[in-house]
Amino acid sequence: MSDVQTWTLVFVVLTFSLYIYIAYRSRVSDTAGFYVAGGGIPAPANGAAIAADWMSAASFISLAGIVAFAGNGYAGSVYLMGWTGGYVLLALLLAPYLRKFGKYTIPDFVGDRYNETARLVAVVAAIVVSFVYVAGQMAGVGVVFTRFLNVNPTTGVVLGMAIVFFYAVLGGMKGITWTQVTQYTVLIIAYIIPAVAVSARVTGVPLPQIGFGQILEELNGLQTDLGFAQYTEAFTQTSRANMVLITAALMFGTAGLPHVIVRFYTAKSVRAARFSALWALFFISLLYTLAPSVAAFSKLQIIQDVSGRSLAEMPGWFTQWANVGLITGPAAADGTLPPVADLNGNGVIDFTGAASDVPNELLINNDIIVLASPEIGGLPAPIVGLVAAGALAAALSTASGLLLVISSSVANDVYYKRINPQASEKQQLLVGRIAMAAAIVVAGYLGINPPGFVAQVVALAFGLAAASFFPILVLGIFWKGCTAKGAMWGMIAGLGVTMAYMLWTIDIYGNSDGILGIPETGFGTVGMLINFIVTIAVSKVTEKPSAAMQELVEEIRYPGKTRLVEAHAKGEDLH
């Protein structure tokens, strides 16, 4: 075993044992504990849990790589702004009011505020979005195990499933939340240490967020020499209008994702829900302000290490990642990625951009930047192992949060609300646990055999969430006159148009240019506007909600105990 493998194993065993211990300590026996941890999680802990839930394998493993390579610097900003800016919307427009409204899930709010048909649409949307996501997490677990421990991906995924199974089925939301707090700690330490070390060594500034300003000029120069657009120059890849559309789709999508919103139900009070949002974004911003600096430092170092070298002279990390097929030659006409080769026979591997006379011979996968950054930066083996454990923490924490959404949607919104309203606490809990177990098995299967389009669909999920949930949640809270028919048609129109556009533009149908050049990732913004317009228009012409319902919507505006919210909590029908 190499040093790196030993250290990875040490950190993985250590962190996994910790998760199991915490899960055992916080096991639960009632549905409120299982779905929302009894609504009793303090705000900083809830914030850390939301942050871990939110920051997936994609944030930890891929984000820096997407900014550095796929986005060539500036264009990657859509993810940085989009995935953080949504929290401002959550904090101001949704979190406090949904917490006051109570209940357990988004379909619960939709069903209680509007009607049962709308609840079913919401259940389906919530389950689809969550499964798409969770498959990506399990695949991420597989990547880490393969590269760092040399086990095959299937063993890795099964191991990950077993851990999640243990603490999610046993502890429900309570177990998940406290485990996520630990996972956040692990992942943020694993992200900060290499970033600080590299920044301090290259620039002498130990604060990477400032340090990376010192290398931008050099990076811009190098990129120009190689025929790339400058790293900091705007709109070289994505037009101004599309930057706006994609950023908006990601922001409003963030504010409409079921597994994020449900976390505010776990807060102790309306005030705690507001504070949870603040803590969550604070914890998220630590990683999200570091990611662009990791991106810039890695890109500079990679260009310096790789440029003008022959295949035999490449550094160790280059060979290792080339061996697992994540550093390759540019894509062939049929989309396959051939091994790196000196195609033009000039003795070196050329890494060049569109403006260069020399054709490019190198493609670096976005996913390796963070995982390889300690090795690229020449940091010692324990740090490499720590980063691997951090990546696993990011993947597992997000997976468990998503699985809970699936389980509670099935057990609460379908089984208890639709099939067996007389079900006892025990029965509901059992159904919840069985649904969770089944969901884990399906997720594991999808992780081992990922459908080819998962990565694409994960990005699209935000557009779908923005086009379906965000408008009807906001209108449901802020406009008493918003009706069930309005919301239902709004959701169907927004979701329908967006899905149709996405399917139509997906490569297999060959319309990838779309209409007016709007990318499928940005179309969610258009779908959302359609949803808003349809919901408002239909609400205007349909019968107003009942007086009691309007009074309930009025009451959720004010913190503290109020009469109708209490009655609603006891199960009184206010339609």
Binding site: A91, G213, S285, P292, P559
Partner: protein
């Protein structure tokens, strides 16, 4: 709270929200995207300013905006006597 107080509380909440959302849009869509070229001519601790807003500044401002919201709503809750103490749990 009586009806008049409720209306006042809600109006002040909406005003605060609107102000914060304007800043939210200005730093991200404004400084980070629409006016990024012009701002990039200004240098800020080594960064072109527009690029800095797109990759650092907007995120920092988002955190500050929520902090202001939480702090101001706490004040508003107290003023109208609807503040919640930490131990109170009223979950449905």
């Amino acid at each position: 709270m009586d009806d008049r107080q409720r209306q006042e509380y809600w109006r002040r909440n909406l005003r605060l929200m609107a102000g914060l959302l304007v800043v939210w849009a200005l730093v991200s869509y404004g400084a980070g995207i629409l006016f990024v070229d012009a701002l990039n001519n200004i240098s800020f601790i080594g960064f072109p300013l527009g690029f800095w807003f797109a990759q650092q500044g907007s995120i920092i401002v988002f955190v500050i905006l929520i902090a202001i919201y939480v702090w101001q709503m706490d004040k508003l809750d107290k003023e109208y006597g609807v503040e919640e103490n930490e131990t109170e749990v009223h979950h449905s």
